[in-house]
């Protein structure tokens, strides 16, 4: 493989060495927050991120490897928001200043994500910015944990803090801390996370100082510029390898939680002369409910998809350099205040899905079937016999798509995150619930030459007299797509008891205030991944093996794969041959 022609101004050895050193600084900032954070969404699920950003443009220079992937793209907008504010208000930033905010229209994502941005000074000048983002446990609003599926304004989702100075010249502004704490149901958790983020920024600053003292300010700046140039050149070379032309794909959100009407995400990808245009014209207009996103979030989601497809391109702003965006201002992908954005995770998962599908039409060997495509945020809440309030909040998993190397992963995490989920034993020890099932879901993986991974079935029994349930999910109506001839995965199904029978939410995958009593059970059946390639190309022996292991039923083997397999997984080769011939 020939190297891409890039700038050769910098010693390539120094470049390789310093790339590692710089990434280690961001990684160490991640690790500091994970260890000291109070809330499990950061401590266990790693819903946070850290990096170094350009002094003038806010562009991502260096990003940690362990943080939440979607933040990698969003953080540069957060830093830019601080730079713009300073410019607009003619503020002089001083060493020791730290800004804090969660305004999603400027900095991307949703209100739960608090961003801390710290100008880093050398020789009296801003050398770069260090930033930290973390998902706080509760930031006010109508629903504990802030996943409010019926919000119609951001004010129902939580407090909204614009970029303000948490520190001025090294002095913490206790007034601001007091405002933040008084707006949360869990002020202790908030205070712990805030301190963790401050520590991470301090650590990053001291590590960066040491590195600059060792290697020189200008050398490191040149290295960071070269890393960006190298990522851009690499990205451009991959784009140039693809056939020029325009390709399109569309996918759907179930609804906005307010009106049961599907919302379209449309993408046209055009490739020309080493550049890629991502045009979202044709996407549904902004909606009343919380599945809108800001422009920054939309770009961040595209970045995540590109990094999944071109995984060896270094994580910095260079990735986006050969990319042009067309995001209609009236669409649900570019909203401003006060449109609700709390369910942004669902919308950006759909953006990643259309990116995979469109790529499958251009370069079938570089893509995969869509993953399960919903985070399924479930809250269970109530009061214990002694009157104490409890809230159990968790996300759930599903299948990954089939891919050119094999079947999709069973029960993986969402492409936008690297988060794990808590053990059911921890949940049972902490909350009055009992899981009655925690299992793979047969026949949920999309059929194909390479099958989509299986989703899961989670069934939970309530142990207290009264419990309220809240669900924020998607993929109840349009299933995760298969690619390159592969079939779709199974839909998301949520079931709760109602009047002696079973019911599903009127909004399919979103619901507030489901009232449950002791002994009643709810069940979540999550989607599998989409399949990859034509089912007729799947080896009948693999289908039989899937039946033997219970990933696929004999009925599905016959209907979806045209294979005749008995309940023990024994293949009838002759019958299969004849069935496949006529299929």
């Amino acid at each position: 493989m020939a190297a891409v022609d890039g700038m050769k101004a910098i010693d390539p050895v120094l470049l390789a060495v310093l790339k590692g050193r710089l990434e280690q600084i961001a990684d160490e900032m991640d690790a500091t927050l994970f260890r000291s954070a109070f809330n499990p969404i950061i401590a266990e699920a790693h819903d946070a991120s850290h990096g170094l950003y350009h002094a003038d443009t806010g562009e991502t220079l260096i990003q940690g490897k362990s943080g939440l992937p979607v933040f990698v793209g969003a953080m540069s907008f957060a830093v830019k928001a601080v730079i713009d504010k300073a410019k607009a208000e003619n503020l002089t930033l001083k060493p020791g200043d730290v800004f804090i905010f969660n305004d999603p229209y400027d900095g991307g994502t949703h209100l739960s994500d608090f961003k801390l941005v710290r100008p880093f000074f050398r020789r009296g000048q801003i050398y770069c910015y260090l930033a930290s983002v973390g998902h706080w446990h509760d930031v006010g609003g109508n629903v504990p944990g802030n996943y409010n599926p019926v919000a119609t304004e951001c004010y129902q989702e939580g407090m909204l803090i614009p970029p303000v100075r948490l520190y001025q010249e090294g002095v913490i502004q206790d007034d601001i801390v007091a405002i933040l704490k008084s707006n949360s149901r869990l002020p202790g958790s908030l205070y712990g996370d805030l301190n963790g983020q401050i520590s991470a920024l301090e650590l990053g600053a001291s590590r960066l100082d040491a590195l600059l003292n060792d290697y020189g300010d200008d050398e490191i700046l040149a290295v960071m510029a070269e890393l960006k140039a190298s990522a851009a050149a690499l990205m451009q070379s991959y784009i140039s390898d693809l056939p020029e032309g325009s390709y399109s794909a569309e996918d759907w959100l179930d609804n906005d939680g307010i009106t049961d009407k599907a919302l379209k995400i449309a993408l046209e990808m055009s490739l020309k002369q080493g550049r890629m245009t991502l045009d979202f014209s044709g996407t549904s207009p902004a909606c009343d409910g919380p599945v809108n996103i800001s422009r920054a979030t939309c770009i961040a989601a595209c970045y995540v998809a590109l990094k999944h497809i071109f995984r060896d391109v270094p994580a910095n702003a260079g990735v986006l350099e050969p990319i042009d965006f067309i995001i209609p201002e009236d669409s649900l992908l570019s909203v401003g205040r006060p449109k609700p954005v709390g369910g942004y995770t669902e919308t950006i998962l759909r953006i990643i899905d259309v990116m995979f599908v469109v790529m499958s039409k251009i370069a079938p060997d570089q893509t995969n079937g869509c993953a399960y495509g919903t985070i399924n945020a479930l809250s269970l809440a109530g009061h214990r016999k002694n009157g104490a309030r409890w809230v159990m909040f968790s996300f759930f998993g599903g299948g990954h798509g089939g891919h050119p190397n094999g079947d999709g992963l069973n029960h993986g995490n969402a492409p936008i995150s690297t988060a794990t989920i808590p053990p059911l034993e921890i949940l049972e020890a902490a909350y009055p619930v009992r899981f009655t099932q925690w299992a793979l879901r047969p026949d949920s993986g999309g059929p194909g030459k390479f099958r989509g991974g299986c989703g899961a079935i989670y069934e939970i029994e309530m142990l207290e007299e009264e419990t309220d349930a809240f669900l924020f999910g998607e993929r109840g109506k349009v299933a995760p797509a298969g690619v390159v001839g592969g079939k779709n995965g199974a839909l998301n199904i949520f079931t709760y008891p109602n009047g002696g029978g079973e019911a599903h939410p009127p909004m399919v995958s979103k619901m507030v205030g489901i009232h449950l009593t002791e002994g009643q059970r709810i069940r979540l059946e999550t989607p599998g991944g989409g399949g990859y390639g034509d089912v007729n190309e799947r080896d009948p022996a693999s289908v039989a093996e899937d039946v033997r292991l219970g990933y696929v039923s004999p009925t599905a083997a016959r209907n979806d794969y045209f294979c005749v397999v008995d309940t023990h997984g024994i293949l009838d080769s002759a019958a299969t041959q004849s069935l496949r011939k006529h299929s």
Binding site: A3, P12, K19, Q24, S189, D312, N405
Partner: protein, 688 residues
């Protein structure tokens, strides 16, 4: 009995079997290195012993570090294993904690060690508070066991939800299984790990069951082979926690041997470092495919709670904390499409190995770069398996894959490969030192394994470590560790109780029973101990947190009944928390998650000075000549020494190459080496 004076440490690695012989009466030592026999590791041990100074009949104790378990897991060569579990939960080991192998890219795959059709469910349930919700029906369990046997299972794991809180159902099920199971390969999850978190517990227990038959067979072969060879003494096996256990215990808990060999190396490192006056050190083991580092502070190794052998293969049992990166001698150097020089993670391993081995690989490795730079002697490769190394082929590979794409000459390219490899290794050292709040200046690097000593000088400069200490026999460090390792039993039990609701009487009783169990096992081993030690620790946290801090209680078994009070536990927790995070969270209730007890039998150590240089050694005799080497962009002349011929207090100024049968040491031009009285080489910056 007086004739049985020899203790043997035997470390079996992928390529070599290393032995260390110690005469406990005379203090005499010897070493041997022979090729490993993969099909039957005991054969390698026997042929190594045949080269040694003693007959097997003279051996009182043989301590063994093994990689059989690790290899069986990595190559998926364990037994056909079944699982009997709670209805509704047979997929826990396959669903993991809902993760994926790589942050970027969604092409991950996972193959659980127990296939889904060998995972049977039975009706039973324990609640989180230990309440028996649904008792087991032994008939159901027997039927499941029979079905597993019919399906060819050779081993079985019993794992029930919440069994950490109440073992009753698991015990009853294990009894039912044993009544029909034809062999001893029955693993009960709460016996392996009575700790909360169902995936981690079931994964560890399943891997244990998967390993029982192959490890059992292996130990059988080993014992038979050694006994037929005349061994009448005892055999002990090194565990991942750095302690040893009896063969019987290893048969029941094979999962504890996963990092047996590397742990022995770290134990040896600690002993060598302490003896030489360096209780703060970082061991660096560079092999063919990986670089392993481990930090020892004040003579003590850090223990990690769990590790993943491979994606999804989680083992949760206390083990010496070893951080691994994919940068070894066989790691391949390449230039990516963005024009950045990369080392690894792909490796040529030992077969085909580096280009210079001439066994078919044509992509340059770290070893090839060291050869081209003159740091390795191409005419006398270590290990003895190859006649000579192919310099021309190594240069060609570097030219094609590194020099040409980067637009540089071959020598510059070779040096670039070493610098980037060094920076990756330095990153691993920083990770365990600087990132854990340790000041690197207080630490020395200790390279062992075949290749580490070529890179140490650069590492101390890059990370800011004070010195490097190269043990006298770096290639047999793990075998030496086997000889001195203590015997150790660890038990972790989740009790999950608020401190102010702790039943002190029951709690004290559990501590005493656990300790006396451990002591009984020490006695059963028939090994010699100088002393015994207990470590009583609690994993504690504020209510609402998920990460715990490990709190070591200042009590001993003899006085635990009189001294252990809730106030003492709280004070110790607060002191530990303050130390870790710099502040306390006043007013929040405190929870005890786990009780962790270690019972340690201290084995006799020996005086390492017996390994030291002979009194007749001299620097002049050690000098064997000169070699041209490439350093910092130019050729220079390095003096070459026979390392083992150097006398104590010898000073070796860089640039120098020190050769010995199991490794090559490179001293940079700005560094110098000093030989201490143990024969260790201490490398530091030149004094002038």
């Amino acid at each position: 009995m007086s004739e049985r004076q020899i203790v043997i440490g035997a470390d079996v690695g992928g390529t070599f079997t290393d032995l260390f012989f110690l005469n406990e009466v005379t203090g005499e030592c010897a070493t041997a290195k022979v090729p490993s026999v993969r099909a039957n590791q005991s054969q390698g041990i026997l042929s190594g012993i045949a080269l040694g100074p003693a007959a097997l009949a003279d051996v009182s104790l043989l301590v063994h570090g093994t990689t059989v378990a690790t290899n069986a897991l990595l190559e998926r060569k364990g037994a056909r294993t079944g699982l009997i579990t709670t209805a509704g939960f047979r997929d826990v080991i396959e669903m993991r904690r809902r993760d994926r192998p790589d942050t970027w890219g969604l092409w991950g795959m996972f193959d659980p060690v127990i296939p889904r059709d060998l995972r049977f469910e039975v009706n039973e349930r324990v609640l989180a508070d230990g309440t028996l919700h649904t008792p087991i029906d032994p008939g159901d369990v027997k039927a499941a066991a029979q079905k597993l046997l019919e399906n060819g299972a050779a081993s079985v794991c019993i794992f029930f939800i919440n069994s950490y809180a109440n073992q009753e159902n698991e015990r009853a099920a294990a009894a039912a299984v044993r009544s029909v199971w034809p062999n001893p390969h029955v693993t009960m999850a709460s016996d392996i790990l009575p700790e909360i978190r169902e995936f981690e517990r079931s994964s560890t227990a399943s891997l244990n069951a998967y390993l029982q038959p192959p490890i059992g067979d292996y130990l059988e072969l080993l014992e038979t082979g050694l006994m037929e060879g005349g061994l009448d003494g005892n055999i002990l096996i090194v565990q991942s926690n750095g302690g040893v256990m009896s063969v019987e215990t290893a048969r029941s808990y094979p999962v504890r041997t996963a990092y047996s060999g590397p742990a022995a190396g770290v134990i040896a490192g600690a002993h060598i470092g302490i003896s030489a006056g360096y209780p703060n050190l970082i061991t660096c083991d560079m092999g063919g495919t990986s670089f392993d580092v481990s930090l020892i502070a004040n003579g003590e190794s850090a223990l990690a709670a769990q590790t993943s052998v491979d994606f999804g293969l989680v083992i949760r049992t206390p083990m010496i904390e070893i951080t691994t990166i994919g940068a070894g001698g066989g790691s391949i150097a390449w230039v990516d499409r963005g024009g950045i020089l990369q080392i690894g993670p792909e490796s040529a391993g030992s077969d085909p190995g580096p280009v210079c081995y001439g066994l078919g690989n044509d992509r340059p490795t770290v070893t090839d770069a060291n050869l081209v730079l003159g740091r390795i002697n191409g005419e006398k490769p270590i290990g003895g398996a190859l006649e000579r190394l192919n310099m021309k082929a190594a240069k060609r590979a570097l030219k094609n894959h590194v020099a040409a794409p980067l637009g540089m000459d071959v020598m510059t390219a070779a040096e670039a490969v070493i610098r980037v490899a060094n920076s990756r290794m330095a990153g691993a050292i920083r990770l365990v030192s600087v990132e854990r709040g340790h000041n690197p200046e207080a630490f020395v690097a200790m390279p062992f394994g075949g290749g580490g000593a070529l890179h140490t000088g650069a590492l101390i400069k890059e990370v800011g470590l004070s010195k490097a200490l190269v043990p006298r026999y770096p290639g047999v460090t793990s075998a030496l560790g086997c000889v001195i390792a203590d015997m150790r039993f660890d038990r972790v039990h989740t009790i999950n109780v608020l401190l102010d609701q702790l039943n002190l009487e029951d709690f004290t009783k559990e501590i005493l029973v656990t300790i006396s169990d451990g002591e009984a096992r020490l006695r059963e081993s028939h090994a010699i101990f100088e002393d015994q030690e207990h470590i009583i620790e609690l994993d504690m946290l504020y209510v609402g947190q998920t990460h715990t801090v490990s709190v070591r209680l200042p009590v001993q078994a003899v006085d635990v009944e009189t001294t252990l009070r809730s106030e003492l536990i709280l004070d110790t927790f607060e002191a530990t928390y303050q130390d870790a995070y710099g502040r306390l969270l006043v007013g929040l209730p405190v929870r005890i998650m786990n009780l962790k007890i270690a019972v340690i039998g201290k084995r006799p150590k020996f005086d390492l000075s017996v390994l030291g240089p002979s009194s007749t050694a001299s620097v002049d005799a050690a000098k064997t000549g000169e070699r041209e080497i490439w350093v910092d962009g130019a050729w220079c002349t390095a003096t070459v020494y026979q390392r083992l011929e150097l006398p104590k207090n010898a000073i070796v100024p860089g640039p120098a190459i020190l050769e010995q049968p199991d490794t090559t040491i490179f001293i940079d031009p700005d560094l110098e080496g000093n030989v201490d009285r143990f024969g260790n080489l201490v490398i530091s910056r030149k004094t002038q």
